[in-house]
């Protein structure tokens, strides 16, 4: 039996949620950017409202640039908890109508409605019911575009073809013709680099992509060439992943309100960040073997390196010490440190063995006690004295926002 897949995509997600919460922002050009209480001039636009998009404001544009294009633009700091809650409501609505639900991003979801809908007419009815439920649970301003098709690739293309609040159904016999109407940039899986490379080969549309023999695409792009060929005909064998895969890495990066100019500032912030990473590691009962540290300077250049450890770690101090050893030799303070990042990978789901040394045993006991305090009173329940002067505001972006940690907390 052919699958019936639905793709649901919130329109201008963060901006719509803000307009839902605050009716005085409705109908106005707004952009969600930065962190509450932070310097919004150093931020980039995370989401622009439909009104702002109509004036040329785009995602990832610097806020000063957006203001230049659209002087009346209202910049609203992001509120990740609010967005996470709306995402959770979207998932709950979807689970009501389908067994198989795959969260694709913070505002996008694929659902398999093959059994629930039975046919494309049933799928259209389900889409309307989902839309009604979303309006009831998330509010009338949070609209979503819905695409229904035989596979994920075409369902996503379909939902993106009509915005806002569209419902596009592409039945199996319509797939080939529908796909021809879509630009290559709309295909999930064809990024800017691939588009550029294809353009160099004279491929600028689905029609021209179809004329390239499959063997030639495989020769040029390896197995991805096969995918490209199939995609040009709307064929895909992608399956819904209804499970949350375990994390491959855990990290924190932060853009500071001003460029850091001194070593102690960098060191303290690195330690505070490492503590956050370590807490999330321990929450997930994991240890890490690889540590990566990176820096971005005021001129937007950057550096970074990684280290593999002999013994896995889960405490902030060790992560910070290793990150510092990685960064210190290459740090160019005169360029001003705009962003710092620490991440750990090669994660293992095991408990750390008890150390043979008394000092390390005591440290493990302290960390365990501090974890209990954080579990009860929240992530900011304790801090090292040396990091008292550091403060990290919550990040807006849904893509990088730690929804898993959020879900674990709620």
């Amino acid at each position: 039996m052919d699958k019936i897949i639905m793709h649901i995509d919130f329109n201008s997600f963060f901006a719509s949620v803000e307009q839902q919460a605050n009716p005085h922002l409705r109908g106005k050009a707004i952009a969600v950017a930065g962190k509450a209480g932070g310097d919004l001039r150093r931020s980039v636009v995370t989401t622009a409202s439909r009104e702002a998009k109509a004036r040329g404001v785009k995602t990832a544009m610097a806020t000063w640039e957006a203001k230049k294009i659209c002087p009346e633009l209202i910049i609203v700091p992001g509120d990740p908890q609010k967005y996470a809650m709306i995402t959770e409501r979207l998932l709950n609505v979807c689970r009501k109508y389908a067994d198989n639900v795959e969260q694709f991003s913070t505002d996008e979801v694929f659902i398999d409605v093959t059994l629930a809908a039975d046919n494309y007419f049933g799928a259209s009815m389900l889409a309307l019911m989902i839309r009604r439920d979303l309006k009831a649970t998330c509010g009338s301003v949070c609209t979503a575009s819905i695409g229904v098709a035989p596979n994920k690739l075409v369902a996503k293309l379909a939902s993106e073809s009509v915005k806002p609040n569209g419902l596009t159904v592409v039945r199996p016999h319509e797939v080939e013709a529908f796909v021809r109407t879509r630009p290559l940039a709309d295909f999930c899986g064809i990024g800017r680099q691939t588009e550029k490379r294809l353009a160099e080969l004279g491929v600028t549309s689905v029609d021209t992509l179809r004329t390239v023999p499959r063997a030639r695409l495989i020769e040029l792009f390896k197995s991805y060439g096969e995918w490209l060929h199939d995609a040009s005909f709307g064929q895909a064998t992608d399956v819904l992943k209804d499970d949350t895969l375990p994390a491959k890495s855990i990290g924190h990066s932060y853009t500071f309100p001003h460029d850091l100019q001194t070593l102690p500032e960098v060191k303290k912030n690195l330690l505070a960040m490492a503590d956050k990473v370590a807490w999330r590691l321990r929450q997930q009962k994991m240890v890490a073997k690889r540590i990566t540290a990176y820096v971005r300077y005021g001129d937007f250049g950057g550096d970074g390196s990684a280290r593999l450890l002999n013994v896995p770690v889960s405490d902030g101090l060790t992560i910070s010490q290793n990150a510092w050893q990685l960064l210190a030799p290459q740090l160019e303070l005169e360029r001003g440190v705009r962003l710092l990042g620490v991440s750990v990978s090669e994660l293992q789901n095991v408990a750390l063995p008890t150390s043979l040394f008394r000092k390390e045993q005591r440290m493990q006991q302290v960390v365990t006690a501090l974890d209990s305090v954080q579990t009860k009173f929240g992530a900011d329940a304790w801090r090292r004295a040396s990091t008292l002067q550091t403060s990290f505001r919550e990040r807006t972006s849904g893509w990088h926002y730690d929804h898993l940690a959020m879900a674990n907390q709620t």
Partner: protein, 81 residues
């Protein structure tokens, strides 16, 4: 004007089933009726449950924070056209 604050406030609420709906607040020696609750969302601070109410009248938007542990209300965000 968009301002962030953390001011303790008095709130009058309606209880309807399992839901709580703020109907007016008292802040800065002024009384503000709340005709609209636009969005309610929750969060956790450790084991403490917090609810945020995004409410508005014809000219103002306010975000209220309700701490379920000590049953206190705070005004945390204020926006006026």
């Amino acid at each position: 004007m968009h301002q962030f604050c953390n001011d303790p406030i008095d709130v009058v609420v309606d209880f309807s089933g399992q839901r709580v709906k703020p109907t007016s607040i008292h802040w800065n020696n002024r009384h503000y009726p709340i005709p609209r609750v636009n969005l309610v969302h929750g969060a956790r601070e450790g084991q403490k449950r917090i609810f945020y109410f995004s409410v508005s009248d014809d000219t103002n938007f306010m975000k209220l924070r309700f701490d379920t542990e000590n049953l206190t209300w705070h005004l945390i965000e204020f926006y006026a056209d």
